[in-house]
């Protein structure tokens, strides 16, 4: 079937052209920057000093370094743990459970929970980081309210459980998105279909697992796609909360990239890291997009 232009548009083609200009600029800029990152990743360009001017092509040296030098693989592992627990397990599962349990409720509790998770979403990252470091500090709320009254020594959570604290903070920050998306998805499941499963003898768990989840599978895949991309490249909250430390315990790829590029100053190596991240996220996205498709 041939694509047909709206008659009005066909006689006013300049409108189409005018509308396309910003899009062309945007796509052009994206390609331009990606192209530069790709080009830099084959050089030994540095932020300051002699190699900021007299850089040279180094072939795949930077990429080899990803695997031979300490840092990249460790950060990749930290990022994987961080993404898996905060996005896939935390935000997604928690968001789904909240959406599933709260949708039938019309109580004050629901209002309170919704307000809380929305707040997490709306609060700027830096403010959120401050809130979390204040509550988890040695003199913070959790120690004063729970740990000390129970007779334990106060704990400096950010020092001793850095990764879990960051993960929990990000769950709090991002659950609203999954909650909203799954609420909408569950609304699209016909009540009668769920009731038919009930009459057929499905337990509550079987109704969720064998009827509801398969029906909202495209929504799940879409959600996974978004939150994985966001979490995998997430930077501000973690950086403001821990700066990647203590040691390198919370040094996810985005922080590793930032440090290598702008603190160590190796722009070429940093570009190689960003290209590697792009490839990883791209592969994950392809996987989710396959999930989105209907099975045969």
């Amino acid at each position: 079937m041939k694509y047909q232009l709206h008659p009005w548009l066909a006689s006013n083609l300049w409108v189409l052209v005018a509308l396309a200009i910003p899009a062309i600029f945007l796509i052009g800029a994206l390609l331009y920057f990606t192209g530069w990152a790709l080009a830099f990743s084959f050089t030994d360009l540095e932020l300051v000093g002699r190699k900021a001017v007299n850089w040279s092509w180094v072939g795949f040296d930077n990429y080899a370094r990803l695997f031979t030098r300490r840092g990249f693989l460790e950060s990749l592992w930290t990022t994987t743990i961080f993404s898996f627990f905060s996005a896939i397990v935390g935000q997604s599962v928690l968001g789904f459970l909240l959406a599933a349990t709260l949708r039938t409720q019309r109580s004050v509790l629901r209002g309170v929970i919704e307000a809380t998770i929305m707040l997490g979403w709306l609060v700027p990252d830096i403010v959120a980081a401050f809130l979390w470091s204040a509550t988890t500090a040695q003199t913070g709320l959790i120690n004063n309210l729970i740990i000390t009254p129970l007779g334990f020594e106060p704990v400096n959570f950010i020092n001793e459980f850095a990764l879990p604290v960051v993960i929990i903070a990000n769950i709090w920050k991002g659950t609203a998105w999954s909650y909203l998306l799954f609420s909408a998805a569950l609304d699209s499941v016909s009540r009668e279909v769920v009731e038919a499963a009930k009459v057929d003898g499905a337990t509550a768990f079987q109704r969720v697992w064998r009827v509801i989840l398969p029906i909202i599978r495209p929504h799940i895949a879409t959600n996974m796609l978004f939150i994985t991309i966001w979490t995998f490249t997430y930077f501000p909250l973690i950086y403001a909360l821990t700066g990647g430390g203590p040691g390198r315990q919370t040094e996810v790829l985005a922080i590793f990239l930032y440090k290598q590029s702008f603190m160590v100053g190796k722009l070429g190596y940093g570009s190689a890291i960003s290209v590697a991240m792009l490839v990883i996220v791209g592969v994950l996205s392809l996987f989710y997009l396959r999930l989105l498709k209907e099975p045969k």
């Binding site: 016909s190 009668e192 279909v193 009731e195 038919a196 499963a197 009930k198 009459v199 057929d200 003898g201 499905a202 079987q206 064998r210 009827v211 398969p214 029906i215 599978r217």
Partner: protein, 355 residues
């Protein structure tokens, strides 16, 4: 034994009571139709029998056992929903097999029962299709097939034909009647369509605003409606209701003429009811009621003529074939007391017409 008994069944949503104490006995193997206007509580009642809605008061028994607190799957029922409610991610076969799979039936047994149901409904050729590749009528068969596979004691249908076009609805109606014949199971069928009710039911239950107005066979309801609500609701064409003055020997029409009813005291009568098909068109000299034609609905086989009497009442008469009458013309009718229904001021029938 698969009779269904309702004893003083009530349902409230919060402070709002929508079912006000229903008593009903449904015998094993009977085809019972719940009929009534939208919002009268038909679906609610059916869903309470199915176990999808909690009962606020009274008892529901299936097969001699009170099932108030028995979960749906153990009630021995199967339900066909208005929206078909097929599982969109499963093939037709899997839709029908789902209940058996959940109860861990052996594969051979599942195969046998699904194929048997598919054969009865003639859907064998699309067992491997997905629901969205089916037409509305085919989906409806699959939904019925899913119910048959469960081999229930009681089938529950909630307006199963309302999403089908007129021709398919008539065809499926006949098929459901045949199915009842074949399976010999108790069937409870909800509809707001009185044609479905009349043609399918062994017994019709007319509901209105959460109470039963009347229970009876289709002919009983047609011939002797217990009140004006049933009189107007049952029957292909709405019954004419005229305000009258009752006396010991008959009723006086708005134009003063008296229709004599022998043998019954009608001094409390306030309404006379007569079906359009029971009015007789006569010449001006023997007219009991005269009026002017306002609308003619010509259906080929017969015509429904709407006219306004000299006293201002709207009435309809059914005339066979293509009657020789034009708009605004005068029309004269007579009615035989044998087919008249008489109601008191509460709308209750005072006498049933003979035959």
């Amino acid at each position: 034994m698969s009779d269904v008994t309702l004893k003083n069944v009530r349902k409230s949503y919060g402070a709002l009571e929508v079912i006000h104490g229903i008593d009903l006995d449904i015998r094993s193997g009977e085809f019972v139709v719940f009929v009534g206007p939208s919002g009268c509580g038909k679906s609610t009642l059916l869903r309470m029998i199915a176990g999808l809605e909690a009962i606020s008061g009274g008892d529901i028994g299936i097969g001699g056992r009170v099932v108030n607190n028995v979960p749906s799957p153990q009630r021995g029922i199967a339900m066909v929903f208005q929206s078909y409610a097929l599982y969109p991610h499963m093939s037709v076969y899997e839709n029908m097999a789902f209940g058996l799979r959940l109860s861990k039936a052996p594969q051979a047994e599942i195969d046998r029962r699904v194929n048997e149901a598919a054969r009865i409904l003639q859907i064998e050729s699309y067992l491997s299709r997905m629901p969205k590749q089916l037409s509305g009528g085919q989906r409806q068969r699959v939904a019925i097939g899913r119910a048959i596979v469960r081999d229930p004691k009681v089938f529950l249908f909630d307006e199963p034909l309302s999403n089908l076009d007129a021709a398919l609805r008539a065809q499926t109606r006949v098929e459901i009647a045949k199915l009842h014949e074949t399976l010999d199971a108790t069937m409870i069928y909800v509809t707001h369509d009185q044609v479905e009710a009349m043609t399918l039911a062994d017994k019709i239950v007319v509901l209105n605003a959460g109470v039963i107005e009347q229970v009876g066979t289709p002919l009983e309801l047609y011939r002797s409606p217990a009140n004006t609500f049933v009189a107007e609701f049952i029957g292909g064409n709405k019954m004419n209701l005229l305000p009258v003055k009752g006396s010991a020997s008959g009723v006086a029409l708005p134009n003063g003429r008296t229709v004599p009813f022998a043998g019954s005291d009608l001094s409390h009568a306030v309404t006379l009811g007569v079906r359009p098909e029971h009015l007789e068109r006569v010449g001006a000299d023997s007219a009991q009621i005269s009026g002017a034609v306002e609308v003619i609905e010509q259906l080929g086989e017969f015509a429904i003529v709407h006219f306004r009497t000299r006293e201002g009442d709207e009435m309809t008469i059914k005339l066979g074939g293509a009657p020789d009458i034009a708009l605004h013309e005068d029309i004269h009718v007579a009615l035989d007391p044998a087919v008249g229904h008489v109601f008191d001021d509460a709308g209750r029938a005072l006498r049933a017409p003979a035959g």
